[in-house]
Amino acid sequence: MTTAARSEKTGSVSRWTFGRVMAYLFMYLLAALCAIPLVWLVRTAFIPEAFALDLFGLHWPTLNNFARVWNAAPWGAYYLNTLLIVLGVLASQFVTITLAGYAFARLDFHLKNTLFVLFLTQIMIAADVLILPNYKTISSFGLSNTLLGAMLPFFASAMGTFLMRQTIKTIPYELEEAAKIDGSSLMGTLVRIYLPLLVPTFIAHGLIAASYQWNNFLWPLIVINSVAKRPLTVGLAIFAQSYETGAQWSDVCSATFLVVAPLMLLFLVFQKRFIESFAYSGIK
């Protein structure tokens, strides 16, 4: 009996045919190609400006580009604004999706299906498409050029609600009943019984929502007019626009690195969590 035949039986190892080897090589090459844009971004951000256009040489890394870029725009304020938007949206969504998710998971009520469709609508029609009417609304509220205006359209999340509903359905109802018998109010039950069990769902949804807000661009570009209130993405776009094409690659790459680094680092550390959360979002 040949090894190939034996491995066929166990099923754990497949034969290394020529086609298989070529497929593996091709996919490794593809993975390397996909990584190139990030590798080049990091490299250009860290090598001296004089060598920025020397695409393949080796050079000692430096932080000079960052020192120059940091002083050229109020990045500290940009970071703070992005953080405030992310935290504000997350805080509000955690409340709204928990309450709505509980209602959809546990209660039988009138207009349930109609309201469910209203939530579906938010998933079907992305907020980006509604920038014009929503800008009019935010303006009429007197909230244009405020961080609250940049956050407000995202305070409810249909995706988060469905995620919550799905998780709450898997929690045994007996837990809630036991708490009720002990005289716990609905809010008490939600906080004491459900919240601890919902932590993984909060993390999953939190990672997705935080990534979305960290990277959001078109809406804050429209709502925010003053330099001091810009989030990172808008700051980066305006910063990059101030250079002519082809010039100052060191500066643009360093600035881009500043914007993407926090999320990239989080991803590298919590790789599995990120990928699982994003996969989870697909199974509503």
């Binding site: 593809l30 409340v95 309201l115 939530f119 992305a126 509604l130 009417p133 078109l218 994003f278």
Partner: protein
């Protein structure tokens, strides 16, 4: 007796209803103001001439003229509309094909498994404006990563190549995201099916066609919707890379809304394009939500 029981049941359901509505109130309030109302408001505003010329007189009711003009005499709109169709028609199958290959590879590979997944997935987490900066560098003639190979490669300046250049970037950006749904899908396939096929002498290609691909169908339907709607949503890069140019060769509907509404202050036309975009997204997604067997996704 039965009547009384029904009455208390009904009263009880109404009590639950009030509680449920109370719990839903915050979400419903925000959804109504920022999702439902803007749909109606766009439809309403699209019936008016409302631009710089009507600034003094106020918006002027013109019925469906904005729509008629868009489809009959607005060259930029037809360009953006066609570009969006091309982008959807190319990026959807291309992203899915790549994603399936990535998923199968990421599932099986032993050496460098983590690095491979990171490399495929990280573009998902980059903001489009950062992606735009990086790819502008890649495409820059003479000095860029690709441009340095051949001084005649001017992908973004050429009306014939700019859309292709954008498509490569968009596929790179989203294929890794699509991959994770296929990884999840692959893990749900019973391995015994492959054992049985192997004993019957099936080769890798046959196993993919007869087992893997058919069983990934629910995933494929789901990611088709995601990539299809993405094709209409991803426009941030245009702000940095081309502003829709050269000669609107890379323009897209949502970016055209932005240009009309916020560069040219033409609210009437921008609203009409918004309504058209809403209709496209509703048609694309409702095919999924209302005709597909819901158990596939909500089980």
């Amino acid at each position: 007796m039965t009547d009384l029981r029904l009455k208390t049941d009904s009263a009880k359901k109404w009590r639950t209803t009030y509680l449920a509505w109370g719990l839903l109130l915050p979400s419903v309030a925000f959804l109504s103001v920022f999702t439902l109302y803007p749909i109606g408001y766009s439809a309403y505003m699209s019936l008016f001439k409302n631009n710089m010329s009507t600034f003094a007189t106020g918006p002027q009711y013109i019925g469906l003229k904005n729509y008629v003009d868009l489809f009959t005499r607005d060259a930029v709109f037809s360009k953006a509309f066609t570009n969006n169709l091309i982008i959807a028609a190319v990026t959807v199958p291309l992203s899915i094909a790549l994603a399936v290959a990535m998923a199968i590879f990421a599932n099986r590979v032993k050496a460098g498994k983590g690095a491979v997944r990171v490399s495929f997935f990280y573009p998902t987490l980059l903001p489009m404006v950062a992606v735009a900066n990086i790819w502008l560098f890649i495409y820059t003639p003479m000095y860029g990563l690709l441009g340095s190979f051949n001084p005649n490669w001017r992908f973004l300046d050429n009306v014939n190549t700019v859309l292709q250049a954008m498509i490569v970037m968009l596929v790179w950006k989203q294929a890794g995201y699509v991959m994770i749904f296929y990884i999840a899908g692959l893990q749900n396939i019973n391995q015994e099916l492959y054992e049985a096929a192997r004993i019957d002498g099936a080769n890798a290609g046959q196993m993919f066609r007869r087992i893997t691909w058919p069983l990934l169908r629910p995933t494929t339907i789901y990611v088709t919707i995601i990539t299809l709607t993405n094709a209409y949503k991803m426009v941030d890069h245009l702000y940095i890379m081309t502003k829709g140019g050269p000669d609107n060769a890379s323009n897209m509907l949502l970016f055209y809304v932005y240009q009309k509404a916020f560069d040219q202050s033409n609210t009437g036309v921008a609203s009409a394009v918004t309504v058209i975009l809403i209709a496209i997204l509703l048609i694309a997604t409702s095919v999924h939500f209302f005709t597909q067997d819901r158990r596939t996704f909500y089980a």
